[in-house]
Symmetry: C2
Subunit: 315 residues, 2 copies
């Protein structure tokens, strides 16, 4: 799809561990039947989808300790190009305990390593070099402890000064403090949109968010698809029907397609339809970062795209 | 206490991870407040207590992958001498989620790596060399997948041929299949004693177990202390009163003291009193492998030792 290099930044990489048990009983001891383990973090899932779509992602971020080594080994296994900056701390893990009986998933997420000022400076230097070769930079997920809250603002500034487009998928202060740098695209979900603007109406909130200096706001609204406020116009794009499955990773798949669209200079209507189809193709897969190619092709023809009147979008 | 080298064998080492959360709710996502992590497995706890008591343990066992690297790093941090055999598989983890609210602990234990026949042979070769320098060998805990069920029998045979005493703390087939090799000491708990003999009465069961070729049986009966059937006589040794705290690791502390007694050629009454005191000093510590030196010294004078009439022990 895209031959140009897309740089994905995952500041807080994780080793995602899944345990299959009979049923989780608080206070009891459980023999784990099967262990699954893979590199995770939103940016890693984005890179996996980019690769599945034929794009050439390079992964930047911070990783350290024996967990960092396990993350890097898994990235190599997945054929992903790792340009991670080493840190002294231990990368975080997430542990999800899934019941064999009914699929109930219970998750524990570690806070992530403390990153020193020197390590962050090393990362920024490495990022600055990598950005020069990229057409789009994707910034995803939380910032680990020790990284300044304004971390994404700094990274977006560097990209803009080099003429490289930026796509931000973050929440809380990491998102709001980055708006001043003028990211080209931000992709909040409904809750992040509400938290960032204090506005309940999604369209009004997205318009407000765009006015804070963002090129385009693409809000992911779960089964309601995408709402896009862009310089070209405003659209809603919806899947033909709600899909059952695993919503984890649907947002990351959407981000991957938005990045490909930005890298290729595709039109917004074209990109939005593909982004909805690829999100839906991620929902039907049990593991974040995977998409079902058959579903993707099938859904492309079925996504419902509606242009909104930007001035009077509710009419 | 002991200047002679004690070799502890932990075939299935673990990285013990503890997560502090508010309260574990099945089906929910939990941000972990604090992460604790240390090398574990029963033999590692034995080695920690040996070191705390001034003995010189050397750790043998099998470890691999990034989890094996984390285990070795933690052993080095604890000042423990690691003579582990590397394996291709990933060492296992245990994850315990502890509630900040009421201390409720929920545990998941991974099954352990698959050990190949070549790796087991490598381990046996390394063990055979190490045994030559040791005065006592301590064999603790489960055997990982791939290791023959008769693994402990083989290791005890090797020790006996070299005139090195052996102490076995295992359960199930790993215990019962090892009895034929004639370990010098076995330390079952009440449940293991019952499972190995099919006899409910602890004294009768311990006598029966000893008749299967064991030098001495020391059964750990939790708050009731120890029951010892030895070539010198039979004893019960009890703590002065039940102690509140963490029973995990009390058995490993007991094993450490039994090993020191064997290494020093101490009398059974002397060793049993010290073993009960050190077990109780482990119960008052929150973490397995630690003992409270003050409690140990204090309890030494308070342990109740009772000699049993071996022929008519119930009279």
């Amino acid at each position: 799809v895209a031959s140009e290099l897309i740089l994905t930044v995952t500041a807080n990489l994780a080793l995602d561990i899944t345990y299959e048990v009979g049923r989780l009983v608080p206070g009891a001891t459980h023999r784990v039947r099967r262990v699954h383990q893979r590199a995770g973090g939103k940016g890693v899932n984005v890179a996996r989808v980019l690769r599945a779509l034929g794009a050439a992602p390079v992964l930047a971020g911070l990783a350290g300790g024996s967990t960092g080594a396990a993350i890097r080994a898994d990235l190599a296994l997945a054929g992903l190009v790792d340009a991670l900056t080493p840190i002294a701390g231990e990368s975080r893990r997430t542990v999800t305990v899934v019941s064999d009986v009914d699929g109930e998933a219970t998750m524990c997420t570690e806070p992530g390593p403390l990153v020193s000022a020197t390590e962050w400076a090393d990362f920024v230097a490495s990022y600055t070099e990598l950005v020069g070769a990229a057409s789009v930079v994707v910034l995803s997920g939380s910032l680990p402890p020790g990284v300044p809250e304004t971390g994404y603002r700094e990274l977006i500034d560097i990209a803009r000064r080099r003429g490289v487009r930026s796509l931000l998928d973050a929440s809380g202060p990491a998102l709001t403090s980055a708006l001043a740098a003028g990211p080209d695209i931000v992709k909040p979900n409904a809750a992040e949109l509400r938290a960032a603007t204090g506005i309940d109406d999604e369209l009004v909130a997205a318009q407000e968010l765009r006015r804070s200096g963002v090129g385009a706001v693409v809000a992911s609204l779960g089964p309601d698809g995408l709402l896009a406020i862009t310089e070209e116009g405003c659209w809603r794009a919806r899947p033909p029907k709600p899909l059952a499955g695993n919503p984890t990773g649907a947002g990351d798949a959407c981000v991957a397609m938005l990045a490909i669209g930005a890298a290729n200079g595709a039109s917004w209507p074209n990109t939005l339809v593909k982004a909805v189809a690829v999100s839906a193709a991620a929902v039907v897969c049990p593991v974040a970062g995977e998409i079902d190619p058959g579903s993707y092709q099938h859904l492309l023809a079925e996504v419902v795209l509606e242009e909104l009147d930007a001035a009077h979008p509710h009419r």
